[in-house]
């Protein structure tokens, strides 16, 4: 990487290149430079999961990731899992079952849930609780979120 203050990676299935000093955090690159504002900033310290994105398919905290270190990797944000028309099964279930209230935590949960269902198409309740335990929701008490993920698991992808 050396002195070249840039980063190149795959973002939502498309190659991107961006100016990026070493100290830039991925969350800032996404929100402030690339203006993908679907990924939220709740704490900046790894304690809320609002900033969750997929890096090489795994849900990861973008607020604790140096942007330069996603060089050559694949990053998927909420914008990348939202279909051009309509909603994904996870998103639909979140809306229909009331798993989104204020919605600020929701993009992070959708990322976590999407990755979970790719890895375990039929997770148990405790697997779901465990999987979402890094995403903080202050509105729903999690129960509707768990139900939505269960319901999305039951429906077609």
């Amino acid at each position: 990487m050396g002195s070249d203050d840039r980063v190149s990676f795959t973002l939502n299935d498309r190659p991107v290149q961006a100016a990026c000093p070493p100290e830039r955090i991925l969350l800032d690159l996404l929100r402030e430079e690339l203006r993908l504002t679907g990924t939220k900033r709740g704490c900046d310290l790894g304690t809320c999961g609002c900033c969750t994105v997929l890096i090489d398919g795994r849900p990861t905290l973008s607020c604790l990731t140096l942007a330069r270190l996603v060089e050559a990797r694949s990053v998927t944000t909420i914008e990348g899992v939202s279909p051009a028309q309509g909603l994904s099964a996870v998103q639909r279930a979140f809306v229909e079952l009331g798993a989104t209230q204020c919605g600020f935590c929701t993009p992070g949960f959708v990322m976590t849930a999407t990755a979970l269902l790719r890895e375990h198409p039929h997770p148990s309740r405790s697997e779901i609780e465990q999987a979402i335990s890094g995403n903080l929701c202050r509105c729903t008490g999690y129960l509707a979120i768990v139900r939505a993920i269960e319901s999305a698991a039951g429906s077609a992808p």
Binding site: D28, I55, R58, L61, L69, G134
Partner: protein, 328 residues
């Protein structure tokens, strides 16, 4: 929250890494998953002008039943059923670290070397400035035990106790070559919350070696924390051992973390139990003795009297559950 500028290095071999370390002597930190270092940097805790990122060094990645590269991600280890079967205490501990999102980035090396913690240290620059800086960062006194020489920050990694009871060794590369030492030797028993490691300047943790002789011990790691997610250990107790068909102890290891500036083993207490059958009374006696020795201070969420009391309970339970647990 932004980070202050630094220079970022991304070596691709251990040799290059160690070379960089030599040239940057004292002015850098290694960056593994960053889940410990970056929050600390955001809070302006002991910043250095260079970061040496380790994720592009192939020798540090990957794992087997004998070796965990320092850069193995906790999330990958957690998903390996063979590893879990061979090293049950480790499997317990892996599931208990932070949150799944943190484990996606967090590494074994970072976990063993995780910065010690204290209510008066893990605070923003503003907060620390307002109370007065402490010994561990920018200051000259301690807010927990008022004096000016010793820091009582708590070692709060979950994996260390679990690896200690597996007799793990660590491979270290430094400017003067490589060495391999028992994991116990990584932590400076004579040090404090600041001088807590035996690593020499610039030394790099390359891998953790898991000796085949300890593989398949029954084991358990029990963690005390307020919530089943997020929280660092307020106490972590690991046990591993073998029992013969008669229920007699063939070998037994016990380690405690999350209570003092470094994790500890208690071989002098567990060795005499070999050849004996453990019963409730023996387990309780061991628990009491360990609790007597462990001295938590008030720098975490739960009060130290309680944490100390729980040492006895957790030791007893971990012993019983390990013995009950299936061997590999």
């Amino acid at each position: 929250m932004h980070l202050d500028p630094f220079e970022l290095h991304r070596p691709t071999s251990v040799e290059e890494t160690v070379g960089l370390a030599r040239s940057l002597a004292g002015r850098f930190d290694y960056l593994a998953g960053g889940t410990d270092l970056l929050p600390n940097y955001k809070m302006h805790l002991n910043l250095r002008p260079h970061l040496v990122a380790l994720e592009a060094v192939p020798e540090l990645t990957g794992h087997s039943l004998e070796r965990l590269g320092a850069m193995s991600r906790l999330a990958d280890l957690e998903r390996d059923p063979a590893l879990a079967a061979a090293w049950p205490a480790l499997a317990d501990a892996l599931r208990e670290v932070a949150t799944p999102l943190v484990r996606a980035s967090g590494t074994v090396g970072g976990n063993l070397l995780v910065e010690t913690r204290c209510f008066f240290f893990n605070q923003s620059y503003f907060w620390r400035a307002s109370l007065g800086f402490c010994l561990k960062a920018d200051g000259d006194r301690c807010h927990v035990v008022p004096q000016k020489t010793t820091c009582y920050a708590t070692f709060s990694g979950d994996l260390a106790p679990a690896l200690l009871v597996g007799d793990a060794e660590v491979e270290i590369a430094g400017p003067t070559g490589r060495r391999r030492i028992p994991l116990t030797g990584l932590y400076d028993a004579g040090g404090d919350g600041i001088r807590r490691l035996t690593l020499q300047p610039g030394e790099l943790l390359v891998a953790v070696h898991l000796p085949p002789r300890a593989r398949g011990r029954r084991g358990r790691y029990l963690k005390l924390r307020v919530r089943p997610a997020y929280d660092f250990p307020e106490l972590g107790v690991a046990v591993a051992g073998r029992w013969d068909g008669d229920g007699r102890v063939q070998e037994l290891r016990l380690a405690v973390g999350g209570a003092e500036p470094h994790p500890r083993t208690f071989d002098d207490l567990t060795a005499p139990l070999e050849g004996q059958r453990l019963n409730d009374a023996r387990r309780a006696a061991l628990g009491e003795e360990v609790a007597r020795r462990v001295r938590p201070v008030h720098n975490t969420f739960l009060v130290p009297e309680y944490r100390k009391k729980m040492v006895a309970v957790f030791v007893r339970r971990a012993l019983a559950q390990a013995e009950e647990g299936r061997a590999a």
